[in-house]
Each structure stands twice: as C-alpha cells, then as structure tokens.
C-alpha cells in the first residue's frame, strides 16, 4: 500500500526523503560488493522481477486476493543491499510512471517498504539461520519468519511516522491496533508465499539464493528413476 501525497506533512516528508536518500546511497556503495560491475543489468532484472511478481495474485478466497510486497523475498534472494536498491527503484518507477504513491511521499514509501522491510527482514533471517542447523529447511523457515516480522514492522514504522507528521489526530492505540493488526494478517500471507518461493528456488538453483551462501553443503549425487523419483518429489 503506497502512501499518497498529503498524508504525511511537508517537513516529515522532507525528513524521510533524507533518510531514504542516505539509505539508497549506502546501498549503492555496498551493492557493488554483492554484484560488482554487473550491478546495472542484474539489479535491473531483479527489480523487474519484483515489479512483475507484485502483479501475481494470490487468491485468499471469496473473490479477494493479495499480492507479494517482496521486501524480505528480495533480501533473502539477492542480499539486503541489492534488495534496498531494487525496492527503491520499483517504488520510484511506480510513483513516476504509474502515479502509484505520492511524489512527496516517495521518501516515506522508500523508507518503509524499501528500507525497513528489507533491514528487519534480513536481520530476522540472519538470526534464524544462525540459530538453526544449516539446511535448506532452515533457510526457508528463516525467509518465512523474516517476512512474517517485516510486514508488521513496516506498519509499526508507518504508525511512528504518522504520529510525527500525520495530518489528522487519530488516537495512537486505535491506529496501532488497526494498522499492526491488519498487517499481521498480511504478514502471514507474505510469509507463507516468501517461504514457499525461497524453498522452490533452493530446490532448483540453491546457488542463486544469497541468504543460503556458505550454508548448504553439497550432498552426494543421487540418481532417482521411475516410481522412486515420483515418490520422493
């Protein structure tokens, strides 16, 4: 959900723009280490992936459906710095090319959806992976928990922003209850999809999952055929 213009007052919008600019500048510097001179083509294609995967509808039932936000998914798949860059590029493009999300709210949107979700998601992921035995399963569980926490965390950060620079006086408790409560539900959906997506990438190209680097040991080559292969899959 993108914040439109007029939702957050001008001084707070400028402040979040400064935060977003600093975050993106740091990410640009650090992403060079994740991607080197491949940055433009690889980050560009990953951003195109995120943009498109947000259009993939996951039916919830009763005719409604939701879609991925993708912050934690990107952090686990390509690393936090590249993820911040890709999410920021997606948000800038949605704002300028599709009028989705206010121009003056761009700083807030990048801070919340580009930086908070990625940073919180990756921190949770790293903690989980460190605590659990190194296996494909714990990477998937880490991705699940990362998404589960990151969505309500972004909602909580939004409530904080709104308290500072919101344009209407809503009692803090009811805003927290509405925003965080609702986003806990969204976070569950995001977590299931993120976990499933990461584990399906792990099954075919574990080398592409940034968060699984150095964790997965190569197992012995196993030949499966006929019924046993079907039974295992």
């Amino acid at each position: 959900m993108h914040i439109p213009d007029g939702f957050i007052n001008a001084p707070t919008s400028v402040a979040t723009a400064v935060v977003a600019a600093a975050g993106v500048a740091l990410a640009l510097r650090k992403a060079g280490r994740e991607l080197d001179e491949k940055t433009a083509p690889m980050a560009g294609l990953v951003a195109a992936f995120i943009f498109a995967v947000q259009m993939l509808n996951f039916p919830v039932g009763a005719g409604t459906s939701g879609h991925l936000l993708g912050g934690s998914l990107a952090a686990v798949l390509v690393g936090p710095w590249t993820a911040v860059l890709c999410m920021s590029v997606v948000l800038i493009t949605q704002s300028l090319l599709f009028a989705d999300g206010g121009i003056t709210a761009l700083g807030s949107n990048i801070t919340l959806m580009g930086i908070v979700t990625v940073v919180v998601g990756f921190a949770v992921f790293k903690t989980v992976v460190r605590l659990m035995p190194s296996s494909a399963r714990s990477v998937a569980v880490g991705a699940f928990l990362a998404a589960l926490v990151s969505v309500p965390a972004a909602a909580a950060a939004f409530v904080g922003l709104y308290e500072v620079g919101g344009t209407a006086d809503i009692p803090l408790e009811s805003l927290v209850a509405a925003m965080v409560g609702w986003h806990v539900l969204i976070g569950i959906g995001e977590a299931i999809i993120t976990g499933l997506t990461v584990s399906s990438v792990l099954a075919v190209r574990p080398d592409l999952v940034h968060g699984a680097r150095g964790l997965l040991t190569k197992g012995p080559l196993e030949l499966r055929s006929g019924l046993s292969a079907q039974a295992r899959s």
Binding site: M1, V24, A40, S88, L97, A168
Partner: protein
C-alpha cells in the same frame, strides 16, 4: 493493493506538454506537489486554484480528462481511509448530515482528498505525456547515476518479464489449473520461484551480451533532448503559481 501496476499510461500526442523535455516536467511536478502538500489544510480556495492551474496544464496537453479519470483508481484505498477519518479522529465534535463526527478529522479528510487527488492527477499527466524512457533519461543528473541505470534496465525489461509471467499463467491454465484459494499457493509460489530463476538467468545473459559489446560498467548517457531556458520558464509556471497560492494561503490563515 490487489491491483497490478502493469497498466500503460502513455497517451500519444504532440502538444506543448508532450514535447517539453522530461527533466523540466519532472522538476515542475515535484515542486508543484511539494507546494500543494505545504498548503495549510483549511484553505480550500487554495486547492481550487491549484486544481485550476493543473486543469489548464491538462487542457494544453490535450489528454482527455476521462483518460486520466479512469487511471485515478490507484487512489481508491485512500479515499476509503479519508472517509473513515472523521469517525476515528479525536478533537471537537461537529454535526454533518445528522451524524456527529470529529471536526479535525473532517478537515484532515478534506485536505487529504484534495492533496492526494492533485498529486495523482499531476503524476498521471507526467506519465501520460512522457514516454517511460524519457522520464528515466530526465532523471539523469537528478538521481545517482547508477540508480538511473538500474531503472533504465528495469523498465527496458519490464515488458519482457511481465510477459513471461503472463505466459506462465496461461501455461498453468491450459493444464486446467486455476488458483482459487490459499491451498493453491504452493503452485503459485513455485511459479514465482521459477520466475525468479528465469529473471536472474536473463540478467546474466544480458550482462554477458553487454560485455561482448564492450560494456565496462558504465552505460552511455540516456538524455536526448536539451532543455532550453524557455522550456524551464514554461514548465516552472505551474509550480510557481502553486507556491504563490500556498504562500498567500499561509499569510491569510
């Protein structure tokens, strides 16, 4: 929200607004929206002046208002929020159509609707009168170079990747699979995973193709049109009038 972002917004035309260099339009848009957001919230006449200025710009661009109107749907979730505001906000109570609502919430809802609508229409006008590649070229020099290059690559391949996603959906449906409820999510997530692998591998191929054509980590400049002082003068008239409006609204209030 549930809707996708893949709709095309560009409306082909040759008006003054269409021909204006993208960088002028982007700067004008950012300044205009900033001025609108900085307007004190109960000065409703100021929004009317801003709407009038924007209306003139839309008229000059010859983009049909209905074309922009249809695309204002992105605003809908926040219209709902604005409608709820008077009931949940605190502060003095007031009567509206026989219902007691928060005075402050009502004012906030009004200004939120006005500001968000002006912002959406202004952004739509940029998107409708400017080709995506020109918008990105117009960002050169305004945003970090590498960020603009990532954006350029993304927009260049956006149609390719979203078409791939569409083909994957058609393939699923032609095998008789239509996702209806959360039990079908594993299939969709597997598709998303496969889609990531394909996008990433496409990135690797694109990178190798670029290397074979002499890519060294720097893309050539994207900008094609040069902004003349006259273009700037015309473009900046819009944010200038909005700023004057906002400033006088502050003086009056």
């Amino acid at each position: 929200m549930g809707a996708g972002h893949g709709h095309r917004l560009h409306y082909h035309g040759h008006s003054v607004v269409h021909r204006m260099p993208a960088q002028c339009k982007i700067v004008a848009l950012v300044l205009f929206v900033l001025a609108v957001v900085a307007t004190p919230r109960t000065q409703y006449w100021a929004y009317a002046v801003d709407a009038l200025v924007l209306g003139v710009a839309v008229n000059v661009s010859r983009v049909p208002p209905a074309y922009l109107g249809k695309r204002m749907l992105v605003e809908v979730p926040f219209v709902v929020f604005a409608l709820v505001l008077p009931f949940v906000a605190v502060g003095e109570r007031t009567e509206l159509l026989g219902v007691t609502v928060s005075q402050q919430g009502l004012e906030a809802a009004g200004s939120l609707l006005a500001k968000a609508t002006l912002g959406v229409v202004a952004a739509l006008l940029l998107a409708a009168t400017t080709e995506p590649r020109d918008i990105i070229a117009g960002l050169e020099g305004k945003l970090p170079r590498q960020l603009v290059q990532i954006m350029a690559m993304m927009v260049r391949y956006l149609d390719v990747t979203s078409d791939q996603l569409r083909r994957m959906r058609i393939a699923r449906e032609s095998r008789g699979f239509v996702a209806r409820n959360p039990r079908h999510w594993p299939v969709l997530a597997q598709g998303a995973g496969a889609f990531f692998v394909r996008s990433y591998e496409r990135g690797e191929r694109v990178h190798l193709a670029m290397l074979s054509r002499g890519y060294t980590g720097q893309l050539p400049g994207l900008r094609t049109d040069i902004a003349r002082p006259r273009d700037w003068a015309v473009a900046l008239m819009v944010p200038l009038s909005a700023s004057v409006t906002a400033a006088s609204a502050w003086l009056i209030s």
